[in-house]
């Protein structure tokens, strides 16, 4: 009984660790897409931030400077995306794809040129990373039945970026649904000409949304390279940006459902790692690839309207042309 309980707790714990970058990236995508800008470049922004954070932390030995560099690089990429799609009304999907490919090459190129370790950054020491934080009384309460282990294993002992993410979900929900910025953000993605008529700049609104996207992607990428891992490695996002995009669609472009979708996807990943070919009751051995493919399959089915219906912001993907 106790062993099973601990197993469940550990599974929940790794779900949280795996979900963190997904949630951050999905929230990042939420701002871009709610403002009417398609962002398949979440992957590239995360990867760029992961490299910048790891490289900076390796050189300076400071995790916080790493976080700063990660955010700056992701914001820069978001602004390039904005420059192409908002200012020059370019194809948003092409722009996102271009940035993803560029960053996938640039990270290893710079890492190889600067650190000569085969396209990765040097392994970071503990003080150059975001270390797990032991919450007050975690060790003392460890032996309290049920609640003690939950507090110790699941709630305590995460790095600060995990707690930031936990806080980010309600904050984003509040910003999107309860503030003037949020109202305008949603309006600009649904009906930009109405927003324009009200005397608000569509261009500036969308740029602001992309700045937030960059900020959140920056934190997500930083988490990957200097909190969850200890260096940047080639393609370390491994499709997480696209998975976050899928979660965003799965959550119908809303913060809390998107977070739940991220948790679901992270849970399947955690289960997959733990199972590794162990047979399950009733179904037998499930191939790991089948579990890996599940989030993508679910998203396809959802988009096709076989499970629920996902309706995108109305003006998404369309550059806004101001009437003259």
């Amino acid at each position: 009984m106790d062993a099973l309980f601990l197993q469940i707790l550990l599974l929940a714990d790794s779900t949280v660790r795996l979900a963190t970058p997904l949630v951050l990236a999905a929230l990042a995508g939420l701002f871009a897409e709610r403002s009417g800008v398609v962002d398949i470049g979440l992957e590239g922004k995360m990867l760029g931030a992961a490299f910048a954070a790891a490289a900076t932390a390796a050189v300076t030995g400071s995790a916080w400077l790493g976080l700063g560099a990660g955010i700056v690089s992701a914001v820069f990429l978001a602004l390039v995306h904005g420059f192409a799609c908002i200012t020059h009304r370019g194809n948003q999907v092409v722009s996102g794809m271009a940035l993803n490919i560029m960053v996938a090459g640039l990270g290893p190129t710079l890492a190889e040129a600067w650190f000569q370790q085969g396209g990765r950054t040097p392994l970071l020491g503990d003080d150059a990373r975001f270390e797990p934080i032991v919450l007050p009384f975690a060790n003392e309460l460890r032996n309290v039945p049920i609640l003690g282990p939950i507090y110790f294993e699941l709630i305590s002992n995460h790095n600060i970026l995990v707690y930031v993410t936990v806080a980010a979900v309600p904050v984003v929900a509040w910003v999107v649904y309860r503030t003037r910025f949020g109202l305008r953000l949603r309006a600009v993605g649904e009906n930009p000409s109405a927003v324009d008529t009200a005397g608000i700049s569509v261009t500036w609104m969308r740029y602001k949304a992309l700045l937030v996207t960059g900020l959140l992607c920056g934190i997500a990428g930083t988490y990957l390279s200097i909190a969850h891992n200890a260096s940047f490695i080639r393609d370390m996002t491994a499709g997480k940006g696209y998975l976050a995009l899928a979660a965003l669609i799965f959550g119908k472009w809303r913060p809390v459902p998107a977070m739940l979708a991220c948790l679901l996807f992270a849970f399947t990943d955690a289960v997959q790692v733990r199972l590794q070919g162990t047979p399950l009751p009733l179904v037998g051995t499930v191939p790991t690839q089948a579990i890996q493919a599940l989030p993508y399959l679910l998203t396809v089915l959802l988009l096709a309207g076989f499970v629920g219906r996902a309706i995108a912001p109305k003006a998404i993907g369309e550059p806004y042309v101001k009437e003259r």
């Binding site: 370019g90 271009a98 560029m102 996938a104 090459g105 640039l106 696209y242 003259r324």
Partner: protein, 369 residues
């Protein structure tokens, strides 16, 4: 709204792409400078590495072959107003078709196996693109997202098959058995050797010729048949298509199936022409290069051949370059590829207004001031 003048053809098809390319190379050059190397020397080494000797030319054309296929795939979908990002997955699944023919029907004579393999590459790749096409046409799901998801689904499916089903008996590496020689496409140095012309060996094979034939077929299809016309009408204006009695749904599914079939042909070059077995990730990002190639080549077969040559040279020259300048790793080519997509695709409108101001002819019917 002021009538926009039209750009002369040579500006639209020649100067504008070159300007975009120049911008992409300029930024790449800056990166080379940041890395502490001389960009002009890098260009020289790259050109020598791509065209300087027989083997290099062979490899350049070998890469270009794959890029022609994926470039055509992206272009056909583009003409129907669809952005097919799934070339990578379609090529991968096309490899499954080729391998199955080779492994299970390889006892047939070469003249039967090769057409069968071409057919299966087209069927498998086409099928993998047809489903997103069908989902877009009939269920309204967005082609971009679905094709991205299908790339991941293809990767999962192929890994499963390679690890559990197709893996060569007694092997640790997830690779299929070597295909029988009846399922090989002869490499050009062997063919030339048979004619008494000695050339250095390279994986360049007959599929290069097939790629050129595909260019011709795509040109015929898009611009010389009524199906191609219907497809372009849907791409330009769906409402007009419906008004003209064309079913957009059918055209979308057709365009995606053809697009996927073309992407599937990458397997001819890689599996039948070079590796002679199915390997993990044999597509190596070539599906994404197709996006850059189609954008650079203005979705026209001639442009695609030129752009594919450019990227073939970049891939081959880039790997030679990394020997001479270790600071410039092969990944630099991927950066250039991304920059080309950015400048030729997403930022294509950046230079256009300026060129229009310079070169624009007054639109027909408009009084000359």
């Amino acid at each position: 709204m002021a009538a926009r003048g039209e750009l002369p053809g040579w500006v639209n098809l020649g100067l504008l792409p070159l300007l975009n390319l120049a911008a992409a190379f300029l930024v790449s050059g800056l990166i080379v400078v940041i890395l502490g190397e001389n960009p002009l020397e890098a260009v020289r080494l790259l050109l020598v590495g791509a065209f300087g000797f027989e083997e290099a030319i062979g490899y350049t054309l070998f890469y270009a072959t794959s890029f022609i296929f994926t470039g055509l795939a992206v272009a056909v979908a583009f003409h129907c107003g669809l952005f097919n990002i799934g070339g990578e997955g379609q090529a991968y699944v096309g490899g499954l078709g080729v391998t199955l023919v080779g492994l299970y029907l390889g006892w047939l004579p070469w003249l039967v196996v090769v057409p069968l393999a071409i057919l299966c590459a087209a069927l498998f790749g086409g099928f993998w693109a047809f489903i997103p096409g069908w989902l877009q046409a009939r269920r309204g799901s967005h082609i971009v997202i679905t094709t991205i998801m299908f790339n991941f689904l293809a990767a999962a499916l192929m890994t499963y098959l390679l690890v559990n089903v197709l893996i060569a008996p007694g092997q640790q590496i997830p690779e299929s058995d070597t295909l029988p020689a009846t399922a090989w496409l002869p490499q050009l140095h062997d063919l030339l050797g048979a004619l008494g012309i000695e050339t250095s060996p390279s994986p360049l094979n007959l599929s290069f010729v097939f790629a050129l034939i595909c260019c011709l077929l795509v040109w015929l299809f898009i611009w010389q048949t009524r199906w191609g016309y219907a497809l372009r009408v849907v791409g330009k204006n769906e409402a007009a298509a419906v008004y003209g009695g064309i079913s957009p749904a059918r055209q979308i599914m057709l365009a995606m199936a053809i697009s996927g079939a073309l992407a599937g042909f990458v397997a001819l070059n890689m599996v039948m022409g070079a590796q002679h077995r199915l390997t993990l990730d044999f597509t190596g990002g070539f599906g994404f290069v197709g996006i850059a190639v189609a954008l650079m080549g203005r979705n026209h077969p001639v442009g695609i051949i030129l752009a594919a040559l450019l990227f073939g040279a970049l891939y081959q020259g880039g790997s030679e370059l990394s020997f001479d300048m270790p600071k410039l790793s092969r990944d630099l080519v991927v950066v250039i590829q991304g920059l080309v997509i950015l400048f030729a695709g997403a930022l294509e409108h950046m230079f256009r207004p300026h060129l229009e101001a310079l070169f624009a002819r007054p639109a027909p019917g408009e009084a000359v001031a």
